[in-house]
Amino acid sequence: MDKKRKLVQFFSTLLYNLNLKGLIDGELYRGGSKGFCVPGLNCYSCPAAVGSCPLGALQSTLGNVKRGVSTYVFGILIAFGVALGRVICGWLCPFGLLQELLYKIPTPKCRSSLKRLRWIKYFILAVLVCLIPLYTAFVNGVGFPAFCKYICPQGTIGGILLMTAQEELRELAGMNFWWKFILLLCFLSVSIWVFRPFCRVICPLGVIYGLFNGIALVHLEVDKGKCTGCGKCSAACPMALKPVTQCNHAECIRCGKCVQSCNERALHFRVKRGDNSRSNALQMMEKRIQSMRGRKE
């Protein structure tokens, strides 16, 4: 499953950035697909991008609130959330892929749950993504995208690619660029020791999709009748969760490592929402009958 996931991650990164010509001439893509938000974090100012970043689009929508609110961005974020939840983080995010590739570098790994730092991303979503663009929109007329300006590492990569293609842009690199560049280097270097630090601590897009993890169509299910409580799934989980009790937790990125690690096949992905309590009860009864037979023999 991990190989399949990597393939999907590579393919989606390529699909979001099909304008490879832009990497050479430094020109932004202006086609119709740019009006469509891609599900993962992928800066629309990257010269290769053929779609828009949902987080950048959300900030620009909130920043233009005085001219009228486009419901499109809210609709597409909810649609992605309801359909896939954080499957998008695990399977369709280019920056997630980059962090995972760095995590493959063989070094001692930190397996901390980062429980206390998780709340930073909720603060970032509320303040930098929503409140500051809204506030500046009401005060100055046009809001500015605070998350993109001060934090987003994906935008910095876009900037580096643009500056590589257009020499004259290099002169514009000031304090803000160097701040974002150092931040990008920090995220990338921490990724070597910690699994996806940006996704776990900073990413506000993950917060939005995480809110839908519990009701998303694609979700994880535990067959409690089959679970032996061996704990292999918890040991395999890179997000330091306990999949048996937290299978639809907001932090679960649906990487499927728990599904792969389960010898009893108690964990599995499901696409349709449904009540499986009846099948669970039947399996538990079967198990009990088998154990009673075993005792008699």
Binding site: G35, F74, I78, G155
Partner: protein, 45 residues
């Protein structure tokens, strides 16, 4: 059952918002149309 209900409600909300957003294309930003570079995004603004 409860979860199915929530999924359905949110799917309807998403559909309505998307439909309204697609019909009202005019307020979509210049960055989303690729007309301008978002200088803030790339750290040069």
């Amino acid at each position: 059952m409860k979860k199915q209900y929530y999924t359905f409600i949110w799917a309807v909300v998403a559909f309505v918002l998307l439909l309204l957003g697609i019909l009202d294309d005019g307020v979509r930003s210049v960055w989303m149309k690729g007309i301008l570079i978002c200088w803030e995004c790339i750290g040069l603004g």
